[in-house]
Amino acid sequence: MAKPRLATIWLDGCSGCHMSFLDLDERLFDVFARAELVYGPLVDAKEFPEDVDVTLVEGAVSTEDDLRRVREVRAKTKILVSLGDCAVTANVPGMRNPLGPKAILETAYASGVTGASAAPSEWVPALLERVQPVHAVVPVDVYLPGCPPSADVIAEAIDQLLAGQLPDTAHLASFG
């Protein structure tokens, strides 16, 4: 039997959830003995592959690019995991929601510390009107809140996922 195909993606988040994943340390050997990592910031694949068994999504959906990617990932993944508070609640990226994208761009660029006179209009994806948690735009199967979720929590969840179970995360993780 082929090994389960595991992927991770990084939307609007600080990469802390990926760091926490790396904090699995020696347990990573165990994970990669049981699963094949087919996509993510940690591997070199450019295209998101077909037929992925489990994808861990870090980050909120903030831009048109995030939206396009998470939809593609959802279509190609059996079990989608919202990893961390940004994916689960929009968290820190969502703090711009009370202000709206226009005001945020003006604050950050036009009057901000970057020295730029205006927000970039090329090469960067457009901001969505509202930052959304992942499950607001595509169905999510497992939620792992935490900022970030601890390595132990991630290890426990992955262990069950690779064993073919949906982990009950209710008493595993908490916000913040």
Binding site: V61, E64, L67, L128, E129, R130, Q132, A136, V137
Partner: protein, 554 residues
């Protein structure tokens, strides 16, 4: 008797024309809020001028309270000829012709033959449209305050309570709690300390104007009921709590209280007995929630008007912690008739466990809108079609909404149901305070649910979480459905949330907020599904929003 503070207002207006000799016709010009807003005060002044100018001495002109057919005002009634004149103009020439019709008993409609009036039974409104709301003498001349005199001079407080109990009267403020039982509880409460009687005239339901009409048409009748109640429960102080949006009501109440005091019918030594009852008006800022009794009492005390958990009920610990009787305007307005004619007489009117009559503000898609009073047990169909004259424009009646924001929509197929407390509840609505809105097929029921949820959301006092935050989220879900953006999962979520808000909220506002959702889902679920599955509004009311990129807004 002009009052100092309303003298300037009065001075601008003509004095009533009251001929000394025999009279052929008296033009009773409605001076309740509805007709006033249509200019009935001008009609009154001009009519007085025309009558005086014409030199006739057998036509009178006076001000009266609500004549019922509010949407067709300004209204003038000529009781001598049993005629009612609608949409009376203020043009002098036309008025001259009308005066001739008044004298000859022609034109207008014949009140006793008109179906709008024929089906009605007037207990609460029996003086509305015949007494001058600003003259206590007029009320007394028509038999007013006889019940209070009788109660304080010939009856013991226990006998008064017994009479009210026998009448089967239930609270008209919404919940229908037996009035006699409430009075008996307050009578027994406390150990000889202070007690209060409070009249709930907050009337916050959107579109409701029953209590306002009663108070503007015959304030003395309500004061009399309160005084009788005070005697029965052993209270000597009371308050009428009115919303500031009713300035005319406030003015008439204040003037009525002072007139009654001067006539020895309120205040100290009422009807020359040792019984005294002092009344004051308290003005609320118009929050719907201040109609809830514990919020209302907090507001009178000068605190923030938010409900508190009950028990203790006001009957045990109410205003300033003392036992307090709180009843609705219409409840108090029913009392004098019960004392005059007996509880048994009152109990003979009505049906099932709902005795007596109920006042409704009939509105919406119906030919004749206005203020009506019907015996309990009349069917909704009789009210809508016989009294209301059916649905205009060849439209079909789709539903009748009763009970305001805490009520529900009763579908056409159930219109033969009798109007009583229990039947309305079993159909998923409530009696409420008397709002009745007729809806035809151009009304979208999801939109109706959204409208009432919007109202509850804005009126939530913010104290408890289910109501404060739950109504906001329910409104958003309803909004999504109306815009064609919702899924079946949203509908399930709405139902789950509604159940929680209904069961977990602290007071009746939150508990009642989901009821329009439940009743429209019960009878009109297909309309919800049409919005969700087919992105169409069967009534053609809702506009479907384009799908947004990110499903934003959720």
């Amino acid at each position: 008797m002009p009052e100092p503070d309303d003298a300037p207002a009065r001075a601008r207006h003509h004095e009533p024309v009251l001929p000394e000799g025999p009279v052929r016709a008296t033009a009773n010009v409605c001076h309740a809020a509805g007709c006033l807003s249509l200019g009935s005060d001008l009609v009154f002044d001009r009519l007085c001028e025309r009558v005086e100018a014409s030199g006739t001495d057998d036509v009178g002109v006076r001000r009266v309270g609500c004549l019922g057919l509010c949407a067709q005002g300004p209204l003038v009634k000529v009781p001598e000829h049993d005629r009612l004149y609608a949409k009376v103009p203020a043009e002098p020439d036309e008025l001259d012709q009308l005066v001739e019709q008044f004298r000859s008993g022609t034109g207008g409609l014949v009140v006793s033959e008109d179906p709008f009036f024929a089906r009605q039974v007037k207990v609460v409104l029996r003086h509305c449209g015949s007494v001058d709301p600003e003259e206590v003498e007029d009320y007394v001349a028509k038999g007013g305050y006889a019940a209070l005199r009788r109660a304080v001079t010939e009856m013991t407080p226990e006998e008064v309570v017994a009479e009210v109990t026998e009448s089967g009267l239930r609270g008209r403020g919404g919940a229908g709690y037996p009035t006699g039982l409430k009075w008996a509880t307050v009578a027994k409460s406390g150990e000889g300390g202070h007690k209060y009687v409070v009249c709930n005239a907050d009337e916050g339901d959107p579109g409701a104007f029953m209590d306002r009409s009663v108070l503007e048409s015959c304030p003395q009748q309500v004061l009399e009921g309160m005084a009788i109640a005070a005697y029965a429960v052993g209270a000597n102080e009371g308050y009428v709590y009115v919303r500031a949006e009713y300035p005319l009501t406030v003015r008439r109440l204040n003037s009525a209280i002072r007139q009654a005091e001067r006539a020895g019918l309120l205040g100290t030594a009422i009807a020359d007995t040792s019984f005294s009852f002092h009344l004051e008006v308290r003005i609320g800022a118009g929050a719907f929630v201040c109609g809830e009794e514990t919020a209302l009492l907090a507001s009178i005390e000068g605190r923030r008007g938010t409900p508190r958990p009950r028990p203790p009920y006001p009957a045990a610990a109410g205003l300033f912690g003392e036992p307090t009787l709180i009843n609705n305007v219409e409840t108090f307005a029913s009392i004098s008739a019960i004392i005059e004619r007996g509880g048994r007489w009152y109990a003979a009117i009505g049906a099932n466990k709902s005795r007596g009559t109920k006042v409704f503000a009939l509105a919406g898609a119906v030919e004749r809108t206005g203020l009506i009073e019907v015996p309990m047990g009349l069917s909704l169909r009789q009210i809508v079609f016989e009294i209301g004259g059916g649905v205009p424009g060849g439209h079909r009646c789709k539903a009748v909404q009763t009970g305001g924001p805490s009520g529900g929509c009763i579908p056409e197929e159930l219109l033969d149901m009798p109007v009583d407390y229990e039947s309305l509840v079993s159909a998923g609505s409530i009696m409420g305070s008397g709002g009745m809105i007729v809806m035809d097929e151009t009304t979208c029921m999801v939109d109706v649910a959204r409208y009432f949820m919007d109202f509850c959301r804005e009126e939530s006092c913010s104290r408890c979480v289910p109501c404060r935050a739950g109504t906001v989220q329910m409104h958003r879900l309803l909004d999504r459905i109306c815009s064609g953006l919702a899924t079946r999962a949203d509908l399930e979520r709405l139902e789950r949330l509604a159940a929680m808000v209904q069961r977990a909220s602290l007071c009746g506002l939150g508990q009642g907020a989901p009821s329009t959702v439940f009743s429209t889902l019960r009878y009109f679920k297909d309309e919800y599904l049409a919005h969700i599955d087919h992105r169409t509004c069967p009534a053609g009311v809702c506009e479907m929003a384009p799908f947004e990129m990110a499903g934003s807004g959720r």
